[in-house]
Symmetry: C2
Subunit: 247 residues, 2 copies
């Protein structure tokens, strides 16, 4: 906290929108901040000799326990009014640190947004030293967040929507085996709208990226649906041109 000015690139932070899919819901990993009612995105600073991607990987590893994580830088947020100097000033006081007006934490910060796609079951949510809890929250239940974090989350979602045909989003978020309704729910959540079941299934099958397994998902009230897995080689090939076919 005191040496940060010497260790980190000045005026630069990063924030991570970590998506996971569980119980047929798209979820985001959030931190409950100490001494406030706010929830926030996991984030951190960039060491002076560190790449942005290495810094994001480090933050994600610390919050999730996963080393090999799919992440993409998606936007920089640089509004001069975005920093919450009052929060940091109060926090420094609580820590007993006499903060000068030019303390490194009280300057303007721009933040680089990364989104990460993780397999829910692999994650061990772990709070950082500014937070008392680290929890998955259902996207639809997330309200306002600390500072401009809600805006960062919305921009991450918009990016997912645009990249749905160019990034292995389904592959990274779903477990190895999944049902067609699960895949459809994931698409519906990202796109923010209901899709027709038959059209969805036909279109998905037309891409040639799914393998229908012999197993079914047992235990539900309905007829047991078939399980699918991705044909990774064909998926990645299709993504090069865009799933809907290139020019």
């Amino acid at each position: 906290m005191e040496k940060g000015g010497k260790l980190f690139h000045p005026g630069l932070s990063l924030d991570c929108v970590i998506f996971g899919f569980h119980d047929n819901q798209l979820k985001v990993l959030l931190l409950k901040m100490e001494h406030t009612d706010h929830w926030a995105l996991p984030g951190g600073f960039v060491y002076k000799d560190e790449t942005l991607e290495a810094a994001a990987t480090r933050v994600l590893q610390e919050r999730t326990g996963i080393n090999d994580i799919f992440l993409q830088q998606f936007h920089v947020f640089g509004d001069p009014a975005r920093s919450d100097r009052k929060y940091h000033s109060n926090r420094l006081k609580k820590l007993g640190i006499e903060a000068e007006k030019d303390h490194w934490l009280l300057n303007r910060f721009i933040t680089v947004g990364f989104y990460a796609l993780v397999e829910f079951s692999h994650v061990t949510p772990t709070p950082d030293n500014t937070s008392v809890a680290c929890e998955w929250q259902h996207l639809h239940n997330i309200g306002n967040l600390f500072m401009d974090h809600r805006q960062i989350l919305d921009k991450a979602l918009e990016t997912l929507r645009q990249q749905l045909n160019y990034q292995p989003i389904g592959y990274k978020l779903l477990p190895d085996k999944f049902t067609m309704p699960e895949l459809q729910t994931l698409y519906e959540t990202i796109l923010g709208k209901k899709l027709d079941r038959r059209n969805f299934q036909r279109r998905m099958n037309s891409y040639g990226i799914l393998r229908r397994l012999k197993e079914t998902r047992k235990g539900g009230a309905h007829k047991a649906p078939y399980l699918y897995s991705f044909n990774l080689r064909k998926y990645q090939q299709a993504l090069l041109e865009g799933l809907q076919g290139g020019w």
Copy 2:
């Protein structure tokens, strides 16, 4: 140069990839740097109270003379090894400035990449105070550039390719009236491959975003091709879902 440390956000710059279309070629606006053989992307710094977008707009206005410019932030480049301290150190010497090791210009810089789409004929290329010339160069003739600017240019192109269905790229780059072969060349250049003439025409017409005019382009050796213009309302509507149709 001396007061920059007080005026600008520390360790932060931006670089602009300015695209224009002329003579059936995609071109990029580059600066010929003073005292070196290097060409570079136009760029600048961000004032402490300025948004990133305002800073980019300011730089673009200064280099092109255009106020109302279409620009998009597309990536941050943050490799700790990307900065060319030697160049800046030499430049400061030439300007007769005694630069301490911690001079603001000699620190690590991360840079935010913006791409801009301009109508070629509206631009008045104008060098900045580090350059002796500002010129359009044909994309295919651009070799290495200063620092990591070639990498920034390549990433901008990759972004254009991915956003071809989601941003009004044709509308921003072409003049009000254009021929189908001109539109096709633009697409071919961005996609980096040849397209079939008939398929291209059929697909473009299927989007319902083009209006065929009664005029033709006269003067060529071949049969005079029809002129087209965009139906802006329909174009923007189609982009909301993606040109190839949404889900």
